[in-house]
């Protein structure tokens, strides 16, 4: 934890008629965090973000941002937030520059023409600043969405699935930008995603939610490394491997076997030991595939929803 609480959510609940979209959710984001907000589609991520930005009202619970209650200090709080909520939508009949100019005028800060061009440059759209947004691809709109979120130099940036629809290069650029904003510009970032890998690359803390409730919360490093890894070894000789394992303690760590693929439950530093053991005993290992427990768990809850 780096500093003061920037986001403090307590017992947050949202009901839509018969559906409980968010159920007694608690979370804290601290100054300087890149906070990963993970969950499968329909887990309640966007509903939570909409409540954070006062787009929808909570049924129960409280939200504090920068130490102040959102309901009573909405305007003051929103001056310090930049956000992308779900897909980026703009006034298609206006240019990228004009869209940002309009949003700048209502951002609570003086936004100069230079600042608009600087942001367009940052998101790689400076050459298309005169083009109408309706001519933009989804990826370009996503970049412009990021631009409008950064325009007024906010302290907290809320990004809801910012890489959706981007190609691998675009995804990498967004990740690099998030890291730049966090490390160089010292922004606090709340990053919602349904992809664990994406969060793992940029976040220091994270929460996994499903069906509106918290499943796992903590430091990314701890969560990813705390539990044993499931590691699959693909070998060249099934019988020889079975005989070899039967003569050693490694057999106790064997979880499952499918022909020449043997899956073990191992500590991180045991992977190399087992690999050496196989090689030294004349078994060729053609692949070592680690699967972390958290990833396994995340995939499982994702599958449940799908």
């Amino acid at each position: 934890m780096n500093g003061d609480k920037i986001i403090e959510i307590n017992s947050l609940t949202k009901d839509f008629k018969d559906l409980r979209a968010v159920n007694s959710l608690n979370l804290n984001v601290f100054e300087g965090d890149v906070f990963g907000f993970l969950g499968p589609n329909g887990a309640g991520k966007s509903t939570t973000i909409r409540m954070l930005l006062s787009l929808i009202k909570p049924t129960e619970g409280s939200i504090k941002l920068f130490g102040k209650t959102l309901q009573k200090n909405r305007i003051e709080i929103l001056k310090r937030i930049g956000a992308i909520v779900e897909k980026p939508d703009f006034y298609g009949y206006l240019s990228a520059y004009k869209n940002l100019e309009i949003l700048g005028k209502i951002s609570g800060k003086e936004i100069s023409k230079n600042r608009i061009m600087e942001v367009l440059e940052l998101v790689g759209l400076s050459k298309r600043y005169k083009s109408k947004v309706k001519t933009f691809s989804h990826g370009m709109k996503q970049r412009l969405g990021l631009g409008q979120a950064l325009l007024h130099n906010p302290d907290l940036i809320i990004l809801d699935e910012p890489t959706t629809g981007l190609d691998p290069q675009g995804m990498k650029e967004i990740r690099d930008l998030i890291l730049h904003l966090s490390k160089v510009e010292k922004k606090t970032i709340f990053l919602s995603s349904h992809i664990l890998y994406e969060v793992e690359l940029v976040a220091n803390r994270m929460i996994i939610i499903n069906k509106g409730t918290t499943k796992v919360e903590g430091y990314v490093k701890d969560l990813l490394n705390a539990k044993k890894l499931k590691v699959s070894f693909e070998v060249n000789d099934e019988d020889k491997t079975n005989n070899l394992l039967a003569q050693s303690d490694w057999i106790n760590k064997l979880e499952s076997q499918a022909k020449t693929i043997f899956m073990f439950s191992l500590e991180n530093d045991e992977i190399a030991d087992l690999n050496r053991y196989f090689v030294e005993n004349g078994i060729a290992v053609s692949a070592v595939i680690p699967t972390r427990s958290l990833e396994d768990y995340f995939l499982k809850i994702t599958d449940e929803v799908v």
């Binding site: 929808i56 305007i75 006034y91």
Partner: protein
């Protein structure tokens, strides 16, 4: 707030649909002018056919004032559609485009958003009526010249002197603006309820047409409810062409229309402040 209104007006006037009303009036009124050039005398004879035996008319009765009066009467039912086209899109258009999210996550209150959009709608409405006034009255006077205005109202013939007409038109257009602002407010209210702009346009026109039909039916029950239908007062601009002008009735009509504008606006504000933005 001024910045917000400027932004809303900028958005309104950057949309193609905004110009449909101006183009429609810009095309329709000259067509009526042209028709009046060729057929005006015949129309005037038709209007005065019942009184020609009793009166002898001298001077230029087919003039810009008469044509403008004729146009104002003819277009009263059609202008609301042009108003609803823009006013019905003010909020629903943001929902359709998904831009509500960007607006509401900015440090401005929902009251400011609603008020600025509403005022932009009212300004558009007034500009459209001003355009109608310019096209029908100013262009009419240029083409047909001025003269006395002959008005037949409730079997009564009134002829206004040339010097006694202009103020009546100015106030009539002002009152028409007020009446059309009620239409804009109603479309705006409907616009706050839905997420596409077709619904508010159709609903507004449906309400106006139904109210006009109810007002026109000569059955006691409908005549009883007539005073409660705002459409009954939209055409009260005609009172400016009575002699003497019934200012008491005009004040009542003005209050009722202003009351409707306030009610529709406040209801839209109340609903919007409680609305969950899910688009």
């Amino acid at each position: 707030m001024l910045t917000l209104i400027q932004i809303e007006l900028y958005k309104v006037f950057k949309k193609w649909r905004t110009y449909i009303g101006f183009i429609a009036i810009g095309v329709l009124v000259p067509i009526i002018h042209t028709a009046m050039v060729f057929e005006g005398s015949h129309t005037l004879n038709f209007m005065t056919r019942n009184i020609q035996e009793s009166f002898f008319f001298v001077g230029n009765l087919l003039n810009g004032y008469l044509v403008s009066y004729f146009i104002l009467t003819s277009l009263a039912v059609h202008i609301p559609f042009l108003i609803a086209l823009v006013a019905g899109d003010l909020l629903a258009g943001e929902a359709t485009a998904g831009t509500y999210r960007m607006l509401i996550t900015r440090p401005i209150s929902r009251t400011q958003i609603i008020t600025s959009k509403f005022l932009a709608g009212i300004i558009y409405t007034n500009l459209l009526i001003l355009w109608l006034a310019v096209m029908s009255l100013v262009v009419g006077l240029i083409i047909f010249g001025s003269g006395e205005l002959l008005v037949i109202s409730n079997q009564t013939v009134i002829i206004f002197e040339k010097s006694d007409i202009l103020w009546r038109f100015l106030l009539a257009y002002g009152f028409a603006s007020l009446g059309m602002s009620v239409v804009a407010s109603l479309a705006f209210l409907f616009s706050s309820l839905v997420e596409n702009s077709i619904g508010p346009i159709v609903s507004t026109m449906a309400v106006i047409i139904v109210f006009i039909i109810l007002s026109a039916i000569n059955i006691d029950f409908f005549q009883t409810i007539k005073p409660y239908l705002f459409t009954n007062y939209i055409l009260s601009w005609r009172l400016f062409f009575d002699d003497p002008v019934d200012f008491a009735e005009l004040t009542k009509a003005t209050s009722i229309l202003a009351g409707h504008i306030a009610f529709f606006f406040l209801l839209a504000l109340y609903l919007f402040k409680r609305k969950d933005i899910l688009t």
